[in-house]
């Protein structure tokens, strides 16, 4: 596995996804890798974060003095609120999500299909899962960015022609950020936008079940 050394780190994937968070956006971050994004938002860009437990304007983790037992993220970590933020109850928080007020949700994924189907709430061999807010947020957000390793631990492709995992939401993923590539989901199919430095488009295609369109493939800028 010589290409192992060319895989992006989790921080590098987060940094790359952060570049695409646009000024003025309200963004929801799933648990895990997506929560690393705020630290990489380019300076001067006004991006607000929504946490589904009723927090619009989530800030970074608190100092010891700032810590408040009543102020947590959806991942149940202590957080802060930025100035201009607000608290809402759960029905309003999910009205924000389903009502189309989220410009983007960045979510982890087990599997993404070429039509944008997202699978991230339950493994096929589990009889039950913890759905939390994943289905509401995925169904309601204007854009859904999937952020994940390109392949599963056993090497299986996670970007597939047709999903085989339990569905979270149909045809919602618009962009995919992995340790190998940035991919756009389009009506024509999956477009390979960028590959990690040192990787070729063919190497990415080799570990991707769905067919990638490779008309104009750039290189991920990891210095950003």
């Amino acid at each position: 596995m010589s290409e192992q050394t060319n895989l992006l780190t989790r921080q590098q994937i987060a940094a790359r996804a952060a570049q695409d968070m646009e000024d003025g956006w309200l963004v929801n971050l799933g648990i895990g890798m997506p929560t690393m994004i705020p630290a990489f938002i380019p300076k001067g860009r006004d991006v607000m974060f929504h946490s589904e437990n009723g927090l619009i304007g989530m800030g970074p983790p608190p100092s010891e003095d700032e810590a408040d037992q009543d102020l947590i993220s959806a991942g149940k970590e202590l957080v802060t609120m930025i100035s201009g933020g607000s608290y809402v109850h759960h029905a309003d928080s999910f009205a924000v999500a389903r009502g189309g007020r989220l410009d983007c949700a960045v979510l982890g994924a087990f599997q993404v299909a070429e039509n944008g189907d997202l699978c991230n709430w339950r493994l096929p061999n589990q009889k039950s899962g913890s759905v939390g807010g994943a289905m509401d947020i995925a169904a309601g957000s204007k854009r859904v960015f999937a952020m994940m390793t390109h392949t599963a631990r056993d090497g299986a492709a996670k970007i597939v022609k047709e999903r085989t995992y339990p569905l979270t939401a149909m045809e919602v993923v618009t962009k995919i950020y992995t340790d190998m590539a940035v991919i756009s989901v389009t009506p024509d199919g999956l477009v390979l936008d960028e590959v990690a430095p040192g990787l070729t488009a063919d190497e990415v295609q080799a570990v991707t079940d769905a067919t990638l369109i490779m008309d104009s493939v750039g290189t991920i800028d990891i210095a950003a």
């Binding site: 928080s93 999910f94 389903r98 509401d136």
Partner: protein, 230 residues
């Protein structure tokens, strides 16, 4: 005017009977009415249905209620957190029933009940396992799942401050499900950190009007998520 304050936990909780459906506030630890839950544990009612986001943490709160065998069914969105090991054990032993509901659907089902509606159409869950057996409808070309209202016999909620009429305000993300559950039950019991005199709460910032609150019990501030002797 009747003051809605209960001087004792027994007064606040005494109406709860075996088989009741309890809506219990909280997301993670904030907003969980821990004192009320401990009180319900001491009542040792059986066959309760609990509606709440998480399946309990450690051995306290909802987990204690489950561990004591008081709960027949749990309706929640996030049952399999590692801290919910008490629930997992009883579930695996077939001793507790589970209904998983997407978090926004859970909130809206209760809001709908509180608003006197029978149900609502949501895009959440369309085509997924969680829509199995539910009616779907297409409205203006978009698919929706029909979700029914979810009402409780009792709501057990936590708020920051109450006035004698039961008007409530909350603290930060401890608000979460509490205002919605207050609306969705036949009898709503609030534990509050502090009670204040009439007119001390600005009517412009009251989150839950007292009309949705039947009684409240004052607990004072406490560190959340700690096991307490009841």
């Amino acid at each position: 005017m009747k003051n809605k304050k209960s001087e004792t936990l027994e007064d606040a909780l005494g109406r709860i009977e075996d088989g009741a459906t309890l809506l219990v506030g909280g997301f993670g630890q904030p907003g969980v009415p821990e004192v009320l839950i401990d009180g319900v544990c001491d009542l040792a009612r059986r066959n309760l249905t609990i509606v709440t986001n998480n399946a309990g943490t450690g051995h306290s709160g909802i987990a204690r209620l489950i561990e004591q065998g008081c709960v027949a069914k749990l309706i929640c969105s996030f049952p399999w957190a590692k801290e919910s090991f008490v629930f997992r054990e009883l579930y695996d032993a077939g001793k507790i029933e589970l209904e998983i509901v997407p978090q926004g659907t859970l909130a809206e089902r209760m809001r709908t009940a509180g608003a006197g509606l029978g149900g609502f159409l949501t895009p959440t869950g369309v085509g997924t396992d969680l829509a199995d057996g539910k009616q779907t409808m297409t409205v203006d070309g978009k698919d929706y799942v029909l979700e029914k209202a979810l009402r409780g016999d009792f709501a057990l909620i936590k708020a920051y401050k109450a006035d004698p009429r039961g008007n409530l305000i909350y603290r930060k993300t401890a608000r979460n499900f509490n205002p919605i559950m207050a609306m969705a039950a036949d009898y709503t019991i609030a534990e509050v950190q502090e009670d204040v005199a009439m007119d001390e709460l600005d009517p412009e910032v009251i989150v839950t009007p007292g009309v949705f609150v039947d009684t409240y019990y004052v607990t004072g501030w406490y560190e959340i998520g700690k096991e307490r002797s009841a």
